[in-house]
């Protein structure tokens, strides 16, 4: 039997607000346990939440960027359950009336455009963290994260492959970073993903029973965990078994998902509207004000790059993956040939960044210095090959390409006389090879090109070498 996979993702994105969602505590990551808490976020008796308006602004911005309907009126609800990292015994979340409904996200997979629908985006507060390591006979709780604002972005079950899931996540991150509401750091947990995965025989309309996967802390792991889960479910059904609805944890070390049997599903969260908070109202004037703060979004920027700079769609997509990358490209392309700029950025610049584990905003090579080098290529001052050497010299040093070319005497030799002189020397040194070539060994042509280039220190213009060599050898 052939199976089809159905995947829906629930993504938690931590908002970049300075303070928590219902109190004034800082949201900074990595502080000493419980140093960023107050009576409100640790749920002392009698305290009350007061909503941080910036959190609403951010979720509305997100909703607009992802084509959602923004509810003029939404509510917070309490999700009730007991856990030590949840000091009030309930999480303030949204249930019946979320801020954003509907919407979609588009991205490319294997050269194909994929569109994934969104069910909703809602606001909620994060919980704390239980600490066990290095504590004997007890567990401690760190409530610094308690009350940090989160958005939950819930997709429709529109995703079909692990690759699509990873690309969807990448696209979400790209958008969230563009609009500057979430730093998208999966390792630090500011972007988290739960995946609902099920399989069904191809052609069947009803969904299969799903497993909810948790604990994937990178795009790669999202894809790997889903891949594993598809194999597991397929095997199970082919062996005559049945998938049960459960939560499974991804174990990246073993590369498997492990059942947390039953625990989660047994919960009845007893959602009800939070009586401590008034409904959230987003007036049309506020909505327009927020819309006005949206930057050019990645899809629009990509289309513009294709038409404005005449670069291929793929290049445009890679270059618009982050706002900073796109800015870097535009600054470079403004001063040099746009296609040449995209080739060098997507090739050499990105390779260096990757080697350094750095982002484009940390790139030591300025767009001005890069385009300075590209101009030298354009006007034939240096060859593409020499440019590789120049690039290495200027990437970290802050020197201009012109200085490096001058210092090292790397200017291309284009003068016919100078090139002919080298050719004649090479021919004089290899009389037998010249004879062989002339008697029909065409393959030796490459040997002569190599010798001439070597003798010129790589500086001879390769096209001229070709022409003149052919002439002299004939």
């Amino acid at each position: 039997m052939k199976f089809e996979t159905v995947i829906g993702l629930e993504v938690h994105a931590q908002l970049k607000t300075k303070s928590k969602i219902f109190c004034g505590c800082s949201t900074q990551f990595g502080s000493a346990p419980n140093s960023q808490t107050c009576q409100v976020c640790i749920g002392m008796p009698g305290v009350l939440p007061v909503l941080n308006r910036t959190a609403i602004e951010y979720i509305v911005k997100t909703g607009l960027a992802m084509n959602c309907r923004i509810s003029p009126y939404s509510r917070f609800a309490r999700k009730n359950y007991f856990y030590p990292d949840l000091p009030k015994g309930y999480q303030i979340s949204q249930y019946e009336l979320p801020v954003c409904e509907g919407g979609h996200v588009e991205f490319m997979v294997d050269g194909q455009l994929k569109k994934v629908g969104l069910t909703r985006i809602h606001l909620e507060e994060d919980a704390g963290k239980n600490l066990h390591e290095g504590i004997k006979d007890a567990s401690h709780v760190d409530l610094n994260r308690t009350g940090v604002p989160l958005m939950e972005i819930v997709s429709e079950p529109d995703i079909r492959t692990p690759e699509e899931a990873a690309e969807y996540m990448r696209k979400l991150r790209t958008i969230l970073r563009y609009i500057d509401v979430c730093d998208g750091n999966m390792e630090e947990g500011s972007l988290r993903c739960d995946a609902n995965v099920s399989i069904r025989p191809v052609g069947q309309k009803e969904f299969g029973t799903r497993a909810e996967l948790k604990n994937m802390n990178s795009f790669k792991n999202v894809a790997k965990a889903i891949e594993y889960e598809i194999r597991r479910q397929t095997q199970l059904i082919e062996d005559g078994g049945r998938v049960i609805q459960e939560t499974r944890l991804w174990d990246a070390n073993q590369g498997i998902t492990i059942s947390m049997r039953g625990k989660e599903e047994a919960h009845d969260y007893r959602y009800f509207p939070d009586p401590d908070l008034v409904p959230i109202e987003v007036s049309s004037s506020w909505l327009e004000e927020i819309r006005g703060t949206l930057p050019e979004l990645p899809d629009a920027k990509k289309d513009r790059f294709v038409s404005q700079y005449g670069i291929p769609e793929y290049d445009a997509m890679v270059l618009t993956e982050s706002r900073q990358m796109a800015d870097y490209y535009e600054r470079t392309a403004a001063l040099s040939q746009p296609k040449l700029a995209s080739n060098w950025i997507m090739g050499d610049v990105m390779r260096e960044l990757k080697n350094d584990g750095a982002e484009i905003e940390d790139c030591p090579l300025t767009p001005e210095n890069l385009s300075g080098m590209l101009k030298l290529i354009e006007d034939n001052t240096i060859s593409g090959k020499i440019a590789k050497t120049v690039f290495e010299e200027i990437y970290r040093s802050g020197k201009t390409a012109e200085d490096v070319v001058r210092e090292k005497g790397l200017v291309q030799i284009t003068d016919d006389g100078a090139i002919i002189k080298v050719i004649e020397e090479v021919m004089a040194a290899n009389p037998d090879k010249v004879a062989d070539y002339r008697s029909g060994k065409d393959k030796l042509f490459g040997f002569f090109v190599g010798q001439v280039m070597k003798a010129s220190g790589g500086k001879a213009n390769p096209a001229k070498v070709n022409d003149l060599l052919r002439e002299k050898l004939s």
């Binding site: 009576q39 640790i42 749920g43 002392m44 008796p45 009698g46 305290v47 009350l48 939440p49 007061v50 909503l51 309490r78 009730n80 007991f82 030590p84 000091p87 009030k88 015994g89 309930y90 709780v141 009845d268 007893r270 959602y271 009800f272 009586p275 401590d276 908070l277 008034v278």
Partner: protein
């Protein structure tokens, strides 16, 4: 002169004028407490040191010419309002040793106004009850008859005012918890409009119903306290950003031409005591005699109020009280096997039976499969009850009812029958569901010399009219001057 017998405004004026020393006033009350507290049991905590330092601050304020509206006035505060550095127990074993590191908005406003804290007043555990019999510590006695309950849940506050153990008190009212004890103890108790007074620092029972208000010796005192504690608070999202009037400004304007509604559903409600019925009828005649226009009104959904209330209040309570889990503060069972066992044992041992009963009721009402039939339906009925009042207030300015169907009952009389206990609040509950203001003032004594309360209700944010009618009635009668006879 026995300073403790004075009303708040009498005492305040003497202190402000420098005729009475704030410390002498405080000592007059602490001595009075020393004499009668062993009979009444109104306080969970007496704040000896804080009392003295606050009285000294008041004394200094007078000398510096910086007199506030409550400078030197000694208060009892219901023990569910957070007082920084002072034990706040909610009369529960769960919070027996809980000392808040923060101050409630109401007490910080009282502090700014110059008040002096005498102690924290006993209550039904987590404000759940009508008698203080649900206090985990002891039952407060009614100063009029110490065999009887003082009403609840703000029973300690009302008894302290009635027994002259403080000049005024704060209570909280979720379904009648200020008004019913005020009626039982023969004092004045005002539940303001929902949103009029900040709930920040009030330990939540049912967030959409809870409201803090004054319990005082007369109506003018309530108006004065409202001027201090009322008004918008950015720390409470549900506190209303509406202008705060001077509640004393039109207090004495009289009731001539005022339209008074009598809800026919209330006076025919079963269980209303004949003496209460007659006292309220007489009170209505007094208002009529002063030129008020009396009309019948209808509140057709009255019958559903108690059921609606006990679904909504318990639902909210089941969630509000989830934080008492033994993890961060409050009671933790001394022995347990694992996390779940710690939760179960801490909560089973830390909460009393009524609190547990309500948590279970509320948990049930919110459970999946029952939510629509209980919680959601109750919300819909709440809207109908609200609408009843909106309709009635199109025709009348205030509505007058008994506060409670009977005078104070005997301690232990209803403890085995929670449903009978719940009916003590039959006339007060709808008011919280509708969110409107209501006051209880003394309007008579039974043959057994037990106080009877008259309830006056008004439109949203129209405490002024409620207070004006109450003052007019009070001024025409002398029920509020009657005091229980206690050992001097």
């Amino acid at each position: 002169m026995d300073l403790y017998k004075l009303t708040l405004h009498e005492l305040r004026d003497l202190i402000a004028k420098g005729e009475v020393n704030a410390k002498d006033a405080a000592f007059s009350y602490t001595r009075r407490i020393g004499r009668v507290e062993s009979d009444i049991h109104a306080f969970t905590t007496l704040t000896a040191n804080a009392t003295i330092s606050m009285a000294e601050a008041a004394e200094k304020a007078v000398l510096d010419g910086k007199v506030g509206p409550l400078t030197g006035v000694p208060f009892a505060i219901k023990d569910n309002m957070a007082t920084k550095g002072i034990r706040t127990t909610c009369s529960s074993k769960m919070l027996e040793n809980f000392i808040p590191p923060y101050e409630s908005t109401v007490t910080s406003r009282l502090t700014d106004a110059g008040y002096v804290l005498l102690g924290k007043a006993n209550m039904d555990e987590f404000a759940m009850g009508s008698s203080t019999e649900n206090s985990a510590f002891f039952t407060t006695r009614n100063p009029w008859d110490t065999e009887r309950i003082p009403g609840g849940s703000s029973g300690g506050s009302a008894a302290a005012v009635a027994a002259d153990m403080c000049a005024a008190a704060l209570g909280s009212d979720t379904g009648g918890s200020i008004r019913q004890p005020a009626a039982c103890c023969g004092v004045v108790g005002l539940k303001p409009t929902y949103g009029r007074v900040s709930r920040y620092g009030l330990v939540a029972f049912a967030s959409s119903l809870d409201q803090i208000g004054p319990i005082t010796k007369d109506v003018e005192d309530s108006a004065i306290v409202m001027n201090v504690i009322g008004g918008h608070d950015p720390s409470d999202s549900t506190s209303a950003d509406v202008p705060l009037p001077d509640f004393t400004a039109h207090l004495k304007d009289g009731v001539k031409g005022l339209k008074v509604g009598i809800p026919k559903e209330y006076l025919i409600a079963g269980g209303i005591d004949q003496e209460v019925y007659l006292a309220v009828k007489e009170a209505i005649d007094v208002l009529k005699g002063m030129g008020a226009e009396v009309k019948d009104v209808s509140l057709p959904h009255t019958d559903y109020a108690v059921a609606t209330y006990y679904l909504l209040a318990t639902s909210e309570a089941s969630s509000n009280l989830a934080r008492y889990d033994g993890v961060k503060y409050g009671y933790r069972a001394p022995e347990f096997t694992d996390l779940l066992d710690m939760y179960k044992k801490s909560r089973s041992q830390g909460f009393g039976p009524e609190v547990k009963r309500r948590i279970m009721l509320g948990t049930y009402a919110l459970s999946s499969g029952y939510y629509d039939a209980y919680y959601k339906k109750a919300q819909q009925v709440r809207t109908l009850i609200k609408r009843d009042f909106d309709e009635a207030f199109k025709d009348v300015d205030i509505i007058v009812t008994p506060t409670a169907p009977t005078a104070a009952f005997k301690i232990g009389e209803k403890t085995d029958d929670p449903l009978q206990m719940y009916l003590s609040d039959i006339f007060t509950i709808s008011v919280n569901l509708a969110g409107i203001p209501g006051i209880s003032i003394p309007c008579g004594l039974t043959r057994e010399r037990l106080p009877i309360g008259l309830q006056i209700l008004g439109r949203h944010f129209d405490e002024e009219t409620v207070l004006r009618a109450a003052w007019a009635y009070e001024n025409a009668t002398d029920w509020h001057k009657k005091r229980p006879t206690l050992a001097e």
